[in-house]
Amino acid sequence: MKFLSFSGWKTRMQALGLALLVGVAGLTGTFDVLAQDATAPVAEAVAEAAAEPVVDKGDVAWMLTSTLLVLLMVVPGLALFYGGMVRSKNVLSVLIHVISVFSLLVVLWIVYGYSLAFSGEGAWIGNLDKLFLKGVTIDTLAATFTDGVSLPEYVFVAFQSTFAGITGALIVGAFAERVKFSAVLLFSVIWFTLGYLPIAHMVWATGGFLFERGALDFAGGTVVHINAGIAGLVGAYFVGKRVGYGREALKPHNVTLTFVGASLLWVGWFGFNAGSNLEATAGAALAFINTLVATAAAVLAWALTEKLTKGKASALGVASGAVAGLVGITPAAGLVGPLGAIAIGLAAGVICVWGVTGLKKLLKVDDTADVFGVHAIGGIVGAILTGVFYAPGLGGLGGDDFDMGAQVATQALGVVMTIAWIGIVSVVGFLVAKLVFGLRVSEEAEREGLDITTHGESAYES
């Protein structure tokens, strides 16, 4: 296993990268100890054996619905969630970043992403056999978690493409309001290729390193949220703070939009979480109800935490709480019971308040939309607690031989590997983007706003 080397920008980043490397190396030694049978219900990407696999139209209906729900999460969901949080002079730039990165990654997914993620059974990455969807036709199938039950492969390709797309789009919230559009696009390609595809393969594909070790990640807590949160954090460091940060009030220009965005994220997330069951069964229903109640609990938890610590519960708070709950329940969605889900939602809601306040201050970073504080922190909370509430005694679906300690260790391994891998890839990505295009617009352009200066228009007129 080789990692890319890189050289100085901020020594802080180097230190971080090195520390992560060491951490991973250390953990790698414990893999055999932690390893256990991959009994977790994760996808065998494409059916190969399975005599006469059956395709059920109910599954197809649900999975198509789920796929479009993930699109709904991105546009307009995420775009509004982020767009409302920036100043009105930058809202269009955020919308453009979100839709462009998503579009770009969806196209790249067809070109080589799907193949590298889901074709072949290597430990770290797939192969290029399905470049340009070669061999994928209206007749090919993809396996579900149930033997003998398949989906049209196009369904699986489409569903997974939206996961890649949303992960990339999540990142851009961290350095909004000052980043160069070209740099965002270049970074996205690098991160997608070297970061997202390997992690997705490792976690979800047969033969994948973490998949084989039994790491539980029902719908993408590590692959999507920790991943995006870390890449965002690195980006926020590299791009630097906004002009006026810490002095002026850099307020959301439209909290209503942010609320709408959070609401659509909640609605769409059922596709994300219950769709990850790949079938319209009671398992999907469990993932569904967990996604409902964990989020509700997190909304209440965030509001209460704000009320107790600051005296007032805010709308930005309930919106953030919803997202925190959603992130937290993602890895656990189909694996824990509703009470476990409520517990995870409460934990994510409370801890992420700290993620966007105390921790954020500690990190001295200007993460515009708190991608790190919500997605990475909430993702870590969820990943670890999945290992806890999977326990049958706590209402989870784990078997009688479930070993909580071992599972939590495996979960931690997944978290640390993702942090390390994505941390390094992100550093590389931003360094390259910096060299090629530069990362920031001029201070004058930033003052005037990216909408006018980069995109030639302003969002609002009377």
Binding site: A249, K310, S314, G317, T357, K360, G373
Partner: protein
């Protein structure tokens, strides 16, 4: 003729307008402004940051008045706009050299 410029609390607009009407002022122009003064703003919370909102929403009323109604107008405003709490606002008076009604070309007090 005088130009009266009054900074008032937004919710006082209707009262002030009525009072001015009774004082014989037939027209006025209103602008939404932000005021900074003794009155303390609320604290707003955003993720990881608190801002004291120094600038409070106020309305600026501009009314051009003839010398005859000037005193009545001033009194109308000060009476109708007050609550007795900090932040009630101020009235500024400026001399007007000339007034023209665009529609008719009338000038001076006739134009008011």
């Amino acid at each position: 003729m005088k130009l009266i410029i009054a900074i008032i609390r937004p919710f006082k607009l209707d009262e002030v307008r009525e009072a001015l009407g009774e004082a014989g002022v037939s027209g006025l122009t209103v602008t939404e402004v932000k005021g900074f003064g003794r009155q303390k703003g609320h604290t707003e919370l955003y993720r990881g940051a608190e801002y004291v909102v120094d600038f409070l929403p106020k309305l600026k009323i501009e009314a051009a008045v003839s010398d005859e109604v000037f005193d009545a107008a001033l009194e109308a405003i000060t009476k109708s706009a007050g609550t007795g709490k900090v932040g009630d606002g101020k009235v500024f008076v400026v001399a007007l050299d000339q007034v023209i009604r665009i529609r008719t070309g009338e000038i001076g007090a006739d134009a008011l």
